[in-house]
């Protein structure tokens, strides 16, 4: 490790119209080092990165205070182009790839290897031809450095989602002068096994002497990958330490600034009577990207039933099929009666409720206030919160106000008030609104899909605790679909693992890790039948 820091943030301060979002951030990063930047949503991570990249939001709002020292020189980065020229690269949470272009072209985009042609000799450099061979060669080299076997000549839209992230990294490391790579929640869209590979990949990049700033919500990854951890909370740097000198719980606590209840397997030994509220058999849902082929399982009254599995194997299609979002076949028996799930709204009418995995796309009316979002389903399905007149009904904002206030308090939703549009809330608070909306309908059975995806650890804990609480106190049966196995294990009674569109097996939360791993990899089918009978 060289003695000179590659990058040094010196007392960085930033405020947006009087609102302090960064207050005295100080840390250094050396070549070949991986620094994890952790913090809840809104802690100031993105603002710090925007400053580093000279994004126009920073300059338009009056710039920042403090110094950035890059390779010993005080720099004032005015635009992303300048940042790139210095050797700073970024991989965003969302993919920034051209789907119709080949992997090689994406990696070399705007830096293509060129050969002169007849026209270019007269008309100038812009008319030179692409050197396909060299482009593919370079792309192959970059992918190889990452240890990835991707054919550089396939188009990006044909790649599995997990591979796209690797293409982005390859694009960055192909830049000859790359010295610092910033990764903004790169694993958020990856499955667990993909994420593992991704981390190995980053390690390789760092071993080549490139410094990495790694933003992530997943603490396991932080512990595994990072050399040191920097934690921001409400714009202040509360912690900066070598990873070896800390642990997951300390980081989690520092991030939220309050004690976190130890993760435990709370529902491992509940003995519920053999009374099945829901039976799903030979269920097949045609949901693009998440097809399920033949799913059968039974859910006991009062239990928390988990559905896990890798992305793309069909776990999220089950609740979507039951709520009529995608065409499905098979039988679903609810309270002893067949459910006509194909009819829109049928499941809701029968007292089921649904929190979709697609918060912004399905779960919310983003421009409408919190209050309307919360009571919408109950108003729609059960005709509550309406004043009835002879021929027509009117929305009653008074009667809804009370329950909305209650929910805001109960779930600790951070907002300016019940009339704030949900589009302005952070992801975690939006998710709380979704859960509240489902609960206000007083369901007998609640389906939640990916309740904690992309939300910060504080909100995550509140949501999970709340689900456990309503299950215990109100006796609501919960079917929870999640990609995060640990989360399922911490709250569920039983967990079904979906692989290749079928139930690979149903496990107890305290089953050994290896069992879960085997089922996820699709090797558990032969003994799943006996497990089902258990």
């Amino acid at each position: 490790m060289s003695s000179q820091a590659l990058l040094h943030f010196k007392n960085i301060k930033k405020s947006f119209s009087g609102n302090v979002v960064l207050d005295g951030v100080n840390f250094e990063i050396y070549p070949g080092q991986v620094v994890a930047l952790a913090g809840e949503n809104g802690a100031g991570k993105s603002t710090l990165m925007n400053i580093l990249f000279g994004m126009s939001v920073i300059h338009d709002t009056g710039g920042y205070e403090g110094e950035i020292i890059f390779e010993g020189k005080n720099v004032q980065i005015q635009s992303p182009q300048e940042a790139m020229a210095l050797g700073i690269g970024m991989v965003h949470q969302e993919f920034m790839l051209l789907p119709g272009f080949t992997v090689a072209r994406n990696i070399k985009l705007n830096r293509e290897n060129l050969v002169p042609s007849v026209v270019s000799r007269i008309a100038g450099k812009n008319y030179e031809l692409l050197d396909q061979g060299a482009i593919i060669g370079d792309a192959k080299k970059a992918l190889k450095r990452l240890g990835m076997e991707i054919n550089p000549q396939t188009t990006v839209d044909k790649l599995p989602v997990g591979h796209m992230q690797f293409v982005e990294i390859a694009r960055e490391i192909d830049k000859k002068n790359l010295k610092l790579l910033v990764l903004d929640e790169p694993t958020a869209v990856l499955t667990e096994s993909e994420a593992e590979r991704f981390l190995e990949c980053i390690r390789k990049v760092a071993d080549e002497g490139i410094a990495v700033i790694f933003i992530s919500h997943r603490l396991d990854e932080v512990m595994e990958l990072a050399d040191s951890v920097v934690i921001l909370r409400d714009g202040q740097m509360v912690f900066s330490e070598k990873t070896a000198n800390t642990n997951k719980h300390e980081i989690a606590e520092l991030m939220v600034g309050r004690k976190l209840e130890a993760e435990s397997l709370i529902n491992v030994n509940r003995n519920l009577p053999e009374d099945y509220i829901l039976e799903v058999s030979h269920f097949k849902v045609n949901m693009p990207g998440e097809k399920s082929k033949d799913v059968s399982f039974r859910v006991k009254r009062g239990e928390i039933f988990g559905i896990g599995g890798l992305a793309g194997h069909g776990k999220t299609s089950i609740s979507n099929g039951i709520f009529g979002m995608y065409p499905a076949t098979g039988t679903v028996t609810y309270e002893g009666k067949q459910l006509q799930y194909g009819r829109v709204g049928e499941a809701l009418k029968k007292g089921m409720a649904f929190v979709s995995e697609d918060r912004k796309g399905v779960g919310l009316l983003l421009e409408e206030p919190i209050s309307l979002n919360m009571v919408y389903t109950d108003m729609r399905v059960n005709r509550h919160f309406l004043k009835k007149y002879v021929f027509f009904s009117q929305f009653d904002s008074q009667s809804s106000g009370q329950i909305v206030d209650e929910m805001i308090r109960e779930l600790d939703i951070r907002c300016t008030g019940p009339e704030q549009p949900v589009g302005r809330l952070s992801g975690g608070n939006q998710q709380k609104v979704c859960v509240a909306r489902a609960l206000i309908t007083k369901p007998k059975i609640l389906f939640v899909s990916e309740p904690t995806r992309g939300i910060d650890i504080g909100a995550k804990q509140i949501l999970l605790n709340y689900l456990v609480k309503i299950n215990k106190e109100l006796g609501i049966t919960i079917v929870m679909t999640s990609s995060e196995l640990n989360e399922l294990r911490s709250v569920c009674d039983r967990i079904a693992i979906i692989g290749q569109g079928i139930v690979q097996g149903i496990l107890k939360p305290d089953s050994p890790n290896v069992d879960f791993a085997l089922l996820m990899s699709g090797e558990g089918k032969e003994n799943s039948n006996d497990r089902n009978k258990e």
Partner: protein
């Protein structure tokens, strides 16, 4: 500074321009000794007779089908009903209401048929509806020639078909305007007209806050959310289209009685545009609207036109400058609003 900027952008830049322009026109009007009471009376009438046509935009915007450029569809239904009322010599205020009632079944049928189309072209409703509007006008040009009307005052004296312009003196010319009307300082207050448009505005406002209205709103702002809440997206869009068509039909009857004429053939061709411009000036976007937007916008836009006419005529006595101003302003506003929608957050 940014605070002022935000307030201006929240209020809407075009709204400010129109208000400033309206203010300028009023000053000019006094400077040029144009009789103010007469002009203000015309303002009120113009606002009144255009209001329901503006309200017809509300359901489409709520259900996410955008501005109803196919307003001529509803207008043709209203005109057809109007012709029937004339054929059977229905006169006075009763005749107007009879025409409205007669128009409703036509509008329902036309709206249902049209919604079949609108539900198949999701995403490009506004473009398709523009051409539906144009086509239906062309179709009814033939209709007016061959429909079996034979009242001597509404058909051509020689040859077949209905006249292009039919004066309503014998039936219900300004019947609503004159109902309980009185004048204050020379300004005529058309109480009947104001009452009728208030009732329609109130009904639309009630509808927006009803369960059905909230369902429609969900379909417009997020169809997937609506589906997850058990709402049939297509049937809500159908309902919105039907209501919009009905309001278009009723709107033209109110318009015609206040104007004093039924205008057939090509007259309805462009009638959607001023209604849309008015709603947009009021602050609506192609995805969000309130009754206030309609009322405020119609008052602004139509007052401006009503005052611009005498001012422009006394500035440049020859030619029809006011018509040119009207066209530039209404189309310019529509263009501005549509470009904003594409660049905005949706």
């Amino acid at each position: 500074m940014t605070g002022i900027k935000n307030k201006i952008s929240a209020f809407g830049f075009p709204r400010l321009i129109i208000m400033a322009f309206l203010g300028l026109l009023i000053v000019l009007m006094f400077l040029m000794d144009i009789p103010a009471p007469l002009t203000f009376s015309q303002c009120i009438v113009r606002v009144g007779i255009n209001m329901v046509l503006g309200l017809a935009m509300v359901p489409g915007i709520m259900a996410g089908t955008g501005m109803n450029f196919a307003l001529p569809l509803g207008i043709e239904c209203g005109l057809l009903a109007g012709m029937i009322s004339l054929q059977f010599d229905m006169t006075g205020v009763g005749g107007i209401f009879a025409a409205m009632v007669i128009s409703i079944p036509f509008s329902i049928l036309a709206g249902l048929a049209y919604s079949q189309l609108i539900n198949r072209v999701k995403g490009s409703e506004m473009m398709v509806s523009t051409y539906v509007g144009f086509s239906v006008v062309a179709l009814m040009c033939i209709g007016w020639l061959i429909l079996p009307f034979n009242h001597p005052s509404i058909v051509w004296p020689i040859g077949d078909g209905l006249r292009t312009t039919i004066t309503l003196e014998k039936w219900y010319d300004r019947a609503l305007n004159n109902l309980w009307a009185f004048s204050v300082a020379g300004v005529e207050i058309p109480v009947g007209l104001i009452l009728v448009i208030s009732v329609f505005s109130f009904l639309v406002w009630l509808f927006m806050r009803s369960r059905l209205g909230l369902m429609m709103k969900a379909v417009g702002s997020n169809p997937e959310f609506a589906k997850a809440n058990g709402i049939h997206v297509d049937s809500m869009r159908t309902l919105a289209t039907v209501i919009s068509t009905i309001l278009g039909g009723i709107g033209i009857i109110i318009y015609a009685q206040g104007f004093g004429f039924y205008q057939l053939y090509n007259a309805p061709l462009m009638m959607a545009f001023p209604a849309i411009a008015a709603v947009l000036i009021g602050g609506a976007t192609p995805s969000r609207v309130t009754v206030f937007h309609v009322v405020f916008g119609t008052i602004m836009f139509q007052s401006m036109l009503a005052i611009a006419t005498p001012v422009a005529n006394s500035l440049i006595p020859e030619g029809n400058l006011s018509e040119v101003v009207r066209t530039i302003v209404s189309n310019g506003i529509i263009l501005y609003a549509l470009s904003r929608m594409q660049g905005g957050k949706r």
